[in-house]
C-alpha cells in the first residue's frame, strides 16, 4: 500500500476553525452600505394566464425603491440544454406552478418589501391544471408548454441485446411497480444573494451557489453583460446536495435587475417556506421494472419503464432521465437491457437533480426485485448478489457494460463480502427478532454510483498554485466546497504533490474574477477532475522550484526531492534546506521570479453521451456500496426504530478518511429520511407540508449506529486512486431498508416513503397487524 505524507491522514477540515467560531460568512451574512432588501411576489394559482400586472400601488408604498416583473427580462429564458430553455426569471404570460414568482420588489427593509408584494395586483385567468403525469399525457389534458403539446418533456427509448428472447428463455420473470417519493435536498441554508450592478456595467454577487460558474453564465446571458464583467463570489455554502444551488432561482435574477434599476446593492434571502414550495426537488418517479433470471438466479434481462414527474419546467430533467437508465447495468452483469422513459410536465414545482441523481430510482427497483426473485427461487440473498456481481477487473483489463460504459475497478464483491461477514448480517439469526410488539429484521443491498461527471463541453477545469515568497502556498480553483469537504481534499492533494505540509496550503474560495472556470460541485466530480487539475498545477509549480534549486545546488532538478516541507538531495539527504528557503531562492534570484503553477484537467470525453440511444461515458469511474440495515417495526403502530447500518464503500482510496466517513454517514441518513420519513403532500399543485415541522427529516434521535468499512481498489483513473465518496450511500440505503422491512414483516413495500400508515395498511392486508 502506498504511503503518503498527507493523503490518507485524518487532518482537520481546512475550514473547521472559522465554522466553529461562527466566523464563516454565508451569503445572508454579507451586507453593503445602502443595501435594499428584495422579496418575490408569487402566484396563488398552479396554472393561470397572466392578463395584466399593476405594480403602481406597490411602487407607491413608502420605502419601496423599485419593482420588476417578467417583462423586464425581455423574453430571456434559461434551462440546462439550449434546446429546452423554457424557464423565465419571473413568469411572463402564464404561471405554471403554485407560487411561481411574478414580481420582485426592492425596499428599505424586508417587511416593507413583503408588504409591497401583497400590493402587486395581478389579473389571472385561472387555467385547469394537471398534476399527475399519466393524466398529463392523455389526449385533451391541459397543455403546460405550447412547444410540448403532449406534455412530454423528454422521452428515451433504448434497447441493448434482445430482452424479449431473454425473457422467453428465463426461468423466472417478475414485473413490479415501484414509486420513489417527492423529496427535497433539505439544505439548512436557504438560497440567498447580495447583488450589485455597477453603473459601469459590472455585476457582482455574493451568492449561495455550488456551481458559481453556471450562475455567472446565467447572469451574462440574462443581462447581456460580457462574462469578463460578471463576478460571482462564493461565500461559505450551507449545504447543496444538487438541484437548487447548482442552478439559479427567481430571487437571483430579481436582485441583479433591481440593483440595476436602483443603483444600490440588493439582497434576498428565501424563507424555508419558499424553499419547500418553490425550489427544485428530486424527480419522483414511477418505475415499472421487469426482471428475468435463470433457475440459478443469474440475471438474463431487465426492461424498465420510467415515468419521471417533471414539474413545470425542463431544467436539468433530460440529464436526470438519462442517468436514471444509465447505471442499471452495474453492479450486476446484465446482458440484455431495454429502457423506456418519459419525463412529463405537471403543474407542480420543478423536479431537478439531487444526490444520487437518477440512479437512486432504478437501483432501488432492481435491487429489491433481485431480492424478491431470490426469495422465490429459494436462493440466499448474498449468494444471488455474488453470483451476478461484476468481478473486479485485473489491472489493465476493462469491463464493458452492455450500454458501453467501462469499469477498471469494481469492489462490489469485496463490499458484499465485508458486510455479509460483519456481525449485523452474519449473526442476524442469533439476534432477537421479536421484543413485545416490535419485530426486527435485517436487510442487505448492493449498488453502484458513477463519479467524475463529464459531458461534452461541460467538464473542463483548471487550478493555479501560487507559491508565496515565504514558502506558503495559495491554491485557486473554480471548484466549490458546498460543505462536502472538497477544499480540504484539494489542499491535501496540493500539499502531497508539492511536498509541503497541509498547514502550508491556503485555498481561496471561488471568485469568478480570479479563479479558473470550473463546473462546480455535482456528479461527484470535484475530487476527481479539479483534483487532477490541482495535482498538475502543483507539479508545474514544483518543476519551477526544482529548477531554481538545481541552479542553486549545481545539480539536476530530478536529483532533488521535497517531503514535509524539507528540500533535500536524493543521493545525499544531508544536503538540505527548508521549503521556505527554496521559495526565497526561486523568487529572489536575479531579477526575481513569480512561481505560478498551472494545471488543466485532461480527462477529455471518451465517448460523448447519446441521450437517444443510451450510450456514452457519463463519468470517470464508479464507486460501489454494499449495506446492511437492522430495524424494528412496531407491528401495532407501524413506527420504525432503525438501529444499525453497516456500510462497505469502495471509493478507490480514501483521500481524507474523515470526509469519506462523514459523507457516507450523511448520505445514508439522508437516504433513510427519503425512504421512511420524507414526502411532500401535494394536492392540485399545493404543497401542504411546507415547514420543517411537517416535512420530516431525520434528527439526532432518529439515527442508527453506523459502522463503515472502506473497500480499497485503487482506481487507475482517479487522482491517488480515488473514486467518488459522496453519493454511494444514498443509493444503497433505500433498498437495504426495504429489504430489512421485508425481513421484519414479510411484506415488500414498493412505494416511498414507507410511512407508519403504509406499514399498518400492509400489515392489515396480510392479516399480520397486531392490535
Amino acid at each position: 500500500m502506498k504511503e503518503y505524507s498527507v493523503i490518507g491522514t485524518r487532518v482537520p477540515r481546512i475550514d473547521a476553525r472559522e465554522k466553529v467560531m461562527g466566523e464563516a460568512k454565508y451569503a445572508a451574512d454579507y451586507s453593503l452600505p445602502g443595501m435594499l432588501w428584495c422579496k418575490v411576489a408569487r402566484s396563488p394559482y398552479a396554472h393561470a394566464k397572466i392578463l395584466n400586472i399593476d405594480t403602481s400601488k406597490a411602487e407607491r408604498l413608502p420605502g419601496v425603491k423599485a419593482v420588476v416583473t417578467g417583462k423586464d427580462f425581455n423574453g430571456w429564458t434559461w434551462g440546462f440544454m439550449a434546446t429546452t430553455r423554457d424557464e423565465p426569471p419571473l413568469a411572463v404570460d402564464k404561471v405554471r406552478y403554485m407560487y411561481e414568482g411574478v414580481a420582485g420588489v426592492a425596499a428599505i427593509d424586508e417587511e416593507t418589501a413583503e408588504e409591497a408584494c401583497s400590493l402587486v395586483e395581478v389579473d389571472y385567468e385561472e387555467l385547469p391544471g394537471v398534476f399527475d403525469p399519466e393524466e398529463a399525457m392523455k389526449e385533451g389534458a391541459p397543455i403546460i408548454h405550447a412547444y410540448r403539446p403532449n406534455n412530454v418533456s423528454v422521452e428515451y427509448h433504448w434497447n441493448f441485446g434482445d430482452v424479449d428472447k431473454a425473457f422467453a428463455d428465463s426461468y423466472i420473470v417478475r414485473e413490479d411497480r415501484f414509486e420513489t417519493g417527492r423529496v427535497v435536498t433539505g439544505f439548512l441554508e436557504p438560497p440567498a444573494s447580495l447583488a450589485y450592478y455597477d453603473p459601469s456595467g459590472q455585476i457582482t454577487v455574493w451568492a449561495a451557489k455550488q456551481s458559481p460558474y453556471f450562475h455567472y453564465r446565467h447572469l451574462a446571458g440574462c443581462f447581456g453583460v460580457p462574462l469578463s464583467k460578471v463576478r460571482v463570489i462564493q461565500p461559505y455554502i450551507g449545504g447543496g446536495f444538487g438541484g437548487t444551488k447548482n442552478d439559479s432561482v427567481a430571487g437571483d435574477f430579481c436582485v441583479v435587475m433591481l440593483s440595476k434599476k436602483t443603483g444600490k446593492p440588493v439582497k434576498y434571502i428565501y424563507t424555508m417556506d419558499e424553499v419547500l414550495t418553490t425550489c427544485r426537488r428530486r424527480h419522483n418517479m414511477t418505475v415499472y421494472n421487469k426482471m428475468g433470471m435463470t433457475k440459478d438466479g443469474i440475471l438474463t434481462a431487465i426492461e424498465t419503464k420510467v415515468i419521471g414527474h417533471g414539474g413545470a419546467y425542463t431544467a436539468i430533467g433530460p440529464l436526470t432521465m438519462f442517468l436514471t437508465g444509465y447505471g442499471t447495468p452495474a453492479p450486476y452483469r446484465l446482458p440484455n437491457y431495454k429502457y423506456d422513459a418519459w419525463r412529463v410536465f405537471t403543474n407542480n414545482p420543478v423536479s431537478a437533480a439531487m444526490r444520487g441523481h437518477g440512479f437512486t430510482h432504478t437501483r432501488f427497483a432492481c435491487d429489491i426485485q433481485m431480492a424478491m426473485i431470490a426469495e422465490e427461487l429459494g436462493i440466499d440473498p448474498v449468494e444471488i448478489m455474488m453470483r451476478n456481481a461484476i468481478d473486479n477487473p485485473k489491472r489493465g483489463d476493462v469491463y464493458r457494460a452492455v450500454n458501453g460504459f467501462k469499469l477498471k475497478t469494481c469492489g462490489i464483491k469485496e463490499a458484499i463480502k465485508a458486510v455479509a461477514e460483519d456481525t449485523l448480517w452474519a449473526d442476524r439469526k442469533k439476534m432477537p427478532t421479536e421484543d413485545g410488539p416490535i419485530s426486527y429484521g435485517v436487510g442487505i443491498s448492493g449498488t453502484g454510483y458513477h463519479g467524475g461527471a463529464r459531458q461534452l463541453g461541460h467538464q473542463a477545469c483548471a487550478a493555479i498554485i501560487r507559491v508565496c515568497e515565504d514558502g506558503t502556498v495559495n491554491l485557486l480553483t473554480g471548484a466549490t466546497d458546498c460543505g462536502q469537504g472538497s477544499d480540504t481534499v484539494l489542499s491535501m492533494m496540493a500539499a502531497e504533490e508539492l511536498g509541503v505540509r497541509y498547514e502550508d496550503i491556503s485555498i481561496k474560495r471561488v471568485d469568478t474574477a480570479y479563479t479558473p472556470v470550473d463546473p462546480g460541485s455535482y456528479g461527484s466530480r470535484v475530487t476527481l477532475l479539479a483534483g487532477q487539475a490541482t495535482q498538475l498545477a502543483a507539479r508545474d509549480a514544483k518543476k519551477q522550484l526544482l529548477e531554481a534549486g538545481a541552479k542553486a545546488w549545481g545539480v539536476k532538478p530530478d536529483e532533488i526531492e521535497i517531503t514535509n516541507g524539507v528540500v533535500s538531495l536524493k543521493g545525499n539527504p544531508e544536503r538540505r534546506m527548508s521549503f521556505e528557503k527554496l521559495a526565497k531562492i526561486a523568487c529572489y534570484e536575479g531579477a526575481g521570479a513569480v512561481i505560478l503553477g498551472r494545471g488543466h484537467s485532461d480527462y477529455g470525453v471518451e465517448e460523448h453521451l447519446d441521450f437517444n440511444n443510451g450510450t456514452g461515458e457519463g463519468g470517470i469511474n464508479f464507486s460501489f456500496t454494499s449495506q446492511t440495515v437492522r430495524l424494528g417495526v412496531d407491528m401495532e403502530t407501524g413506527k420504525l426504530d432503525v438501529t444499525d447500518f453497516t456500510i462497505a464503500h469502495d471509493c478507490g482510496f480514501p483521500l481524507h478518511p474523515v470526509s469519506v466517513e462523514s459523507q457516507n454517514e450523511g448520505g445514508a441518513v439522508q437516504g433513510l429520511g427519503q425512504t421512511i420519513y420524507e414526502g411532500f403532500i401535494m394536492e392540485n399543485g399545493r404543497t401542504y407540508n411546507s415547514t420543517m415541522l411537517d416535512y420530516k427529516m431525520p434528527r439526532s434521535t432518529d439515527i442508527p449506529t453506523i459502522k463503515l468499512i472502506n473497500i480499497i481498489t485503487d482506481d487507475p483513473d482517479g487522482p491517488f486512486g480515488a473514486k467518488e465518496a459522496s453519493e454511494g450511500s444514498i443509493v444503497s440505503t433505500p433498498p437495504a431498508v426495504i429489504d430489512a422491512l421485508h425481513s421484519a414483516t414479510g411484506i415488500w413495500f414498493k412505494e416511498l416513503p414507507v410511512t407508519p400508515e403504509k406499514i399498518v395498511k400492509g400489515l392489515k392486508e396480510k392479516g399480520k397487524w397486531m392490535k
Binding site: 434528527r699 439526532s700 453506523i706
Partner: protein, 155 residues
C-alpha cells in the same frame, strides 16, 4: 421603537428596537453578530440557537424585548480571543461538521447539555441535540464530538 439593554457575550448594548423584532434579527442586523443563523425562521431547526440565562433558546421566536436585561451568549462568545473553547476544539478534531451552517447552534446546545450533564450517555446526547437539525453529517460525528468535548471539559 423600544429601548432595551442587551447583555451579549459579556458586553452591554443599549439599543432601540421595534417591538416585534426578534432577538435573532437584532443580534444579526443591529449588533452585527452574524454567527447565529436563520434556517427555518419558525423555531424548528435550531440554527438560531443562543443561550439565554443558561438555557438554549431559538432566537428566531424570541422577541428582542423578552431578552431585555438578560445574559445572552452567542457562538461568538465561546472562544477566548483566539483560543477555542474545548467544545469547539472537539468539533474541529473529530470533524463534527461539514457545511457548518448548523454548527453554531449545535455547539451552543452542546454547551447547555454539558453544563447540566457533564458525562452524558449517547442517548442523552442525541436527546439533547434533538432540536438542532443537520442535513450533512448524519449526526454521527457530531455525537462523537460531544463525547470528546465532555472529556475535555471534565479535564
Amino acid at each position: 421603537m423600544k429601548e432595551i439593554r442587551l447583555n451579549v457575550n459579556g458586553t452591554e448594548y443599549d439599543i432601540a428596537v421595534r417591538p416585534y423584532a426578534t432577538l435573532l434579527e437584532v443580534l444579526r442586523e443591529d449588533l452585527g453578530l452574524i454567527g447565529t443563523k436563520e434556517g427555518c425562521g419558525e423555531g424548528e431547526c435550531g440554527a438560531c440557537t443562543v443561550i439565554i440565562e443558561g438555557k438554549a433558546a431559538n432566537s428566531c421566536i424570541v422577541l428582542a424585548l423578552e431578552a431585555d436585561g438578560k445574559e445572552v451568549t452567542t457562538i461568538e462568545g465561546l472562544a477566548d480571543g483566539g483560543k477555542l473553547h474545548p467544545i469547539q476544539e472537539a468539533f474541529v478534531e473529530i470533524g463534527g461538521l461539514q457545511c457548518g451552517f448548523c454548527t453554531p447552534g449545535m455547539i451552543l446546545s452542546t454547551k447547555v447539555l454539558l453544563d447540566a450533564n457533564p458525562n452524558p450517555t449517547d442517548e442523552e446526547i442525541k436527546k439533547g441535540l434533538e432540536g438542532n437539525f443537520c442535513r450533512c453529517t448524519g449526526y454521527t460525528k457530531i455525537i462523537e464530538s460531544v463525547k470528546v468535548a465532555a472529556r475535555k471539559v471534565r479535564g
